[in-house]
């Protein structure tokens, strides 16, 4: 039977040179659910997000996206993920001021993703455009970089969206904009906690 779970992380730890770099965590999300993985510092929060996205393999414990083990079936797992890195997607030159210019700035990246994901470029572009229109991306450079990264991540119609240390309000925005998806975001708690992350229905997040 195919599980309805979109992401499942069981007791993930990441050890480098004998040192635990993250607080071990577990989570389980279905569609329309969201969880925040809290970690003691920014580096740990980034690693935890990357484990949930299948980009980093846990040293112990396991991570699944849909039913794909991120260690054994990384290609199938990552295909379902829209990953938004903490630094966003930066473009060279002055800040873009309109949606048309924003789309032009990410056009080559969209074409690249269309080729790699095997997706239709025109459909991806439409989704990116609608995301850019819904997001107030013109406030400052950091916000713009996140808007572009979000537009790119959502363009491939992911089942799971992973936000690496998102700025305030971004997780809620994504929750409202992507019904049917599961959302994982990472944040810094400042505490060496070892806890499972509790899923929250998106309906509660978006009010």
């Amino acid at each position: 039977m195919i599980s309805s779970t979109i992401v499942r992380v069981d007791g993930a730890r990441f050890v480098r040179d004998g040192v635990d770099l993250i607080a071990p965590f577990s989570l389980r999300l279905e569609a329309d659910e969201m969880a925040t993985v809290e970690q003691p510092n920014a580096r740990a929060a980034k690693i935890a997000a990357r484990i949930a996205a299948g980009i980093v393999k846990p040293t112990s414990g396991r991570a699944f996206i849909a039913d794909f083990d991120t260690r054994l079936q990384p290609a199938q797992a990552k295909r379902l993920v829209g990953f938004v890195p903490a630094e966003g997607f930066r473009v060279e030159g002055p800040p873009v001021e309109t949606i048309a210019r924003a789309l032009a700035a990410i056009e080559s990246e969209l074409r690249f993703r269309a080729a790699v994901w095997g997706a239709n470029y025109a459909s991806m572009r439409r989704r990116a455009e609608s995301e850019l229109a819904a997001y107030t991306f013109l406030r400052d450079g950091q916000s713009q970089a996140h808007a572009l990264a979000l537009a790119l991540a959502l363009s491939t119609e992911p089942a799971l969206i992973v936000l690496e240390l998102p700025p305030a309000g971004v997780a809620e925005h994504v929750a409202a904009a992507t019904p049917g998806c599961a959302i994982v975001s990472s944040s810094v708690s400042g505490q060496e906690t070892i806890a499972s992350q509790v899923a929250t229905p998106l309906a509660e997040v978006t009010g």
Binding site: A42, R43, I55, V56, P74, K78, R79, F83, P85
Partner: protein, 196 residues
């Protein structure tokens, strides 16, 4: 998914202008090589080709910026990513040797098929071995670059020992396959974690 399409897309993405420093390094190496070429005798020139070109190819491949999160977020297997990176490494690594061979043909009219094969095959294998340096640091990284240079040197030595060009080429293909396979395995195991 069309693996060839995806592989080409990744390779072409690496050629975007933000990574032009690799090309600049290669062009600089080529100009140095051409300057030495004009000032050297034939024997010393051959020794220079034997030693410097594979080492330059390995060092150039090692400058590829592979440890970025975007590469590891791509839904492909390590071996597929490795093939895309290899296309880049070989293209960068062959820029200087191709210019040198062109100079050899234009100025000396003396580039035999054997020479062309060992220069190009040696530099390609050196680039593939040097590719593994991109995921390592310190002495191990340096060892892969030197190892790449030595691999190219070994291929050149076969040619200078009188082995026909197809024998040299077969050895180069074998060595290149092993190097690419090793890089693919390393890439599959690599975890792109942020610096402390």
């Amino acid at each position: 998914m069309n693996g060839v399409r995806a592989t080409l897309a990744i390779a072409l993405r690496n050629f975007r202008p933000s990574r032009r420093e690799n090309w600049l390094l290669n062009v600089a190496l080529a100009f140095i090589a051409l300057a030495l070429f004009v000032s050297m005798g034939a024997d010393r020139w051959t020794m220079f080709l034997l030693a410097a070109l594979p080492l330059a190819a390995a060092a150039t491949a090692a400058t590829l910026h592979i440890r970025s999160t975007w590469l590891f977020a791509i839904p492909l297997y390590g071996r597929q990513l490795a093939r895309a990176c290899a296309l880049n490494a070989i293209a960068y690594g062959l820029a200087a040797p191709a210019l040198v061979l062109t100079g050899e043909v234009v100025f000396r009219h003396a580039a035999s098929l054997d020479t062309i094969v060992w220069v190009l095959a040696g530099s390609s294998v050196a680039a593939l071995v040097g590719l593994s340096a991109t995921l390592r640091d310190g002495l191990v990284r340096a060892a892969y670059i030197v190892g790449g240079g030595l691999s190219g040197f070994a291929i050149a030595s076969l040619a200078s020992a009188g082995i026909p060009w197809f024998g040299t080429l077969a050895f180069a293909v074998l060595l290149g396959f092993v190097a690419l396979r090793a890089f693919g395995e390393t890439l599959a195991r690599y975890d792109p974690i942020p610096e402390a």
